[in-house]
Subunit: 139 residues, 3 copies
């Protein structure tokens, strides 16, 4: 069994931001030389998500509006977590809706995707450096 | 390490529908000959989910009502995504709540499940052919 | 390829409870002897979650309030599922928001975690014995 790992580093300009990281993950897969296996991609921070959905700008805005409705940033005093001095209580909740990780099938050296599947990093408390894990195991 | 892959094909009659696909996944596992490992099952379309929950009809209806409350289908003009000509903005959101994928332990040639765990395909924009990935790796 | 499996057993005192199970999962990893691979941790019951987030008491309370708002326990008659004699319809829904499972990278014999990642068991219908799966594969 082969194992490959790489951290991707991101710093967003905005508090909330959504980045298509599919090309970076594909590069990891090529570098790994793994042809058959599983590829795990996860946020290493607990105020961010990795998820698979559509690379369509309107939809990304819909996600952002919807998450803000489900877990609003303000009033920040609404969240007990923010009594620690943080203002990112909402970000921890948003991350649960969108998920921490995706596991993708690797077949014949490719991410075995449906026609519209793209991997996104969802940042909910950005403007500082964060890491994304890419771990691939297989043969 | 052995790897097995199969696509399952589904076409639902309704826009939203929930199907217990456990028997199909169990058949894949038998066909794979894998005794110890991990089994990934994921929707290959971004308006559908694979999730594990209870095979109880009332609960399935509860899920559907709840998802419709969290991300209503109408008014379709509510979603920016629908300006592309689609009417499935809600389906992309519902899929995030229910999840894209499940990863199941394989032990002694079986899906290593608790007493009530069943694998469901959740369709949120159906009435057309879609695919589900079953990828199993192990020995 | 090596495979390791262990069930963790938990019985909570309260209907809803959140437990940091990271030390137990780390012990499993040490016992497995696996250095490179993937570690799956999942609830084996469908009214509970395994998720990764912050070990901060205020945040845990925020999660609980928020889940109760998204899928209230009462009125129990709100859920068709409860017509079966159960009163845990809400617990099945809460579990979908928080997720069934996490998959964690194993690198150099360690859970390959960001600085704040901790694994939690989220119980939404407790006061009885339940199981958590830890399955590790790799080399």
């Amino acid at each position: 069994m082969k194992a490959f790992k790489k951290y991707l580093y991101v710093t967003t300009r905005n508090r909330r931001e959504y980045m298509n990281i599919t090309p970076e993950v594909e590069k990891c897969l090529r570098d790994s030389g793994i042809k058959e296996g599983l590829c795990l991609v996860n946020a290493m921070h607990i105020t961010a998500s990795v998820f698979i959905n559509d690379n369509e700008k309107g939809l990304i805005n819909d996600f952002d509006d919807w998450l803000e409705k489900l877990a609003p940033h303000e009033p920040t005093s609404h969240y007990r977590h923010n009594r620690t001095g943080e203002d990112n209580g909402d970000a921890h909740l948003k991350r649960q809706v969108m998920g921490r990780e995706v596991v993708v099938a690797v077949s014949e050296g490719m991410l075995d995707f449906g026609p519209w599947e793209q991997i996104f990093y969802g940042e909910f408390d950005g403007r500082r450096e964060k890491r994304i894990m890419v771990k691939i195991i297989g043969s």
